[in-house]
Symmetry: C2
Subunit: 229 residues, 2 copies
């Protein structure tokens, strides 16, 4: 191992965006430490996908932190609310949907920051995307910049002058561009999982926002979804 | 219940600062929703104190979220490192001690933000203090301001123009001033607990930074510590 190993913490949910982000971080030369959360999500298949993908590309480490996000309720992804189905692009591009989990990315990035500080890493990767972003406020560039500014004031590393960076390499890409980038980097999308509301056998519903965005992304990229129907 | 109930989320550890902060929030007219964390801390007596105190002043709700902060290690409060003892004020005022838990306040405030959003509350109280602060970067005013700016970009409430505020009412006070303020507000400090390293019977060590700051605070306030030796 080189004495100049640059470690990065990569948030990994197991969907298209986070697996592509992990591939980007590795391509940029980082030793990758993946971090996933078991937060009582309805779509636990995603977590199994995260484990499978992390193993497949030999990350340095993969931690799964169990957190009690469901204790507060407030989202169709953790509470007993219906996941919206068959929304058109117009509906998806306006307003914040019930699948929004309050402060989710803030909580995830905060744990990533703790993990980074323990590792002595100044680099955190997150697969947020402001184009096909389904209306979540914590997927916007100005949010990522504000988190980064806060992180540099929050930590021993920041105080000691080591600059913490929150990398969001997909933030300006369409889903189709993300998929093309991932294919270039060798991402095996058959290992990924995107559905918010799979059936009891773990099969995607094909009607939630996440399924629709994924299908449209592969269609626009001109690539068959290897995990698709 | 009034139709103008103002709800606040108050981070409650069970020590002098957080119990005083809860009393301040209540005095300012907020309906208080206390939030504590079970994070594998060595000083679990603090958590029991938080429960006792919250009950004693009839909060609207008290949630305890179990989080796996110890999974990353890196602090004498969660890992198997020695808690420093009998450090003088000079040593305490310089550098970041091993009792620093990476990103702790950031993680706590992130959960408070999620809870606030579910409650429809824009007000979060935290008992950080920049005077007798034992050297933690995430207890400084610039950190609190940066978190607040981030929170307003992170959330549905922020996007919708409801301004989120992170209240840190003790930030400019000495420990003695905090204790005097608490006494004015009727805080029963016999219910609080401060030690980082209690013995097997839950008795304070009287030598860690937290015990020393508490003892000095009561001494300077000219008040006997009702939980003291």
């Amino acid at each position: 191992m080189s004495s100049h190993v640059r470690k990065a913490v990569v948030l990994l949910s197991g969907g298209v965006d986070s697996t592509t982000t992990l591939a980007v971080a590795r391509h940029e030369g980082f030793q990758c430490h993946a971090l996933s959360f078991d937060y009582g999500q309805r779509h636990r298949c995603e977590l199994e996908a995260a484990c499978g993908f992390a193993k497949s590309i030999n990350v340095a480490d993969h931690r799964i932190v169990k957190i009690d996000l469901g204790a507060f309720g407030g989202s169709a992804l953790t509470a007993d609310l219906d996941v919206p189905k068959d929304r058109g692009a117009e509906a998806m591009s306006h307003g914040i949907p019930v699948t929004y989990v309050p402060a989710r990315n803030t909580i995830f990035l905060s744990f990533a920051l703790a993990y980074a500080e323990v590792l002595g890493s100044t680099d955190i990767f997150i697969g947020v995307n402001a184009i096909d972003y389904s209306g979540y406020p914590d997927c916007r560039p100005q949010y990522i910049q504000a988190f980064e500014a806060m992180a540099n004031l929050a930590t021993k590393m920041g105080v000691e002058g080591r600059r913490i960076r929150i990398h969001a390499p997909l933030i300006d890409l369409t889903k189709a561009q993300i998929i093309k980038r991932g294919i270039e980097l060798g991402v095996d999308y058959s290992l990924t999982f995107s559905c918010y509301d799979p059936d009891a056998h773990g099969r995607p519903c094909e009607h939630c926002d996440s399924c629709l965005l994924r299908a449209e992304g592969f269609r626009a990229a001109g690539i068959d979804d290897p995990a698709g129907p």
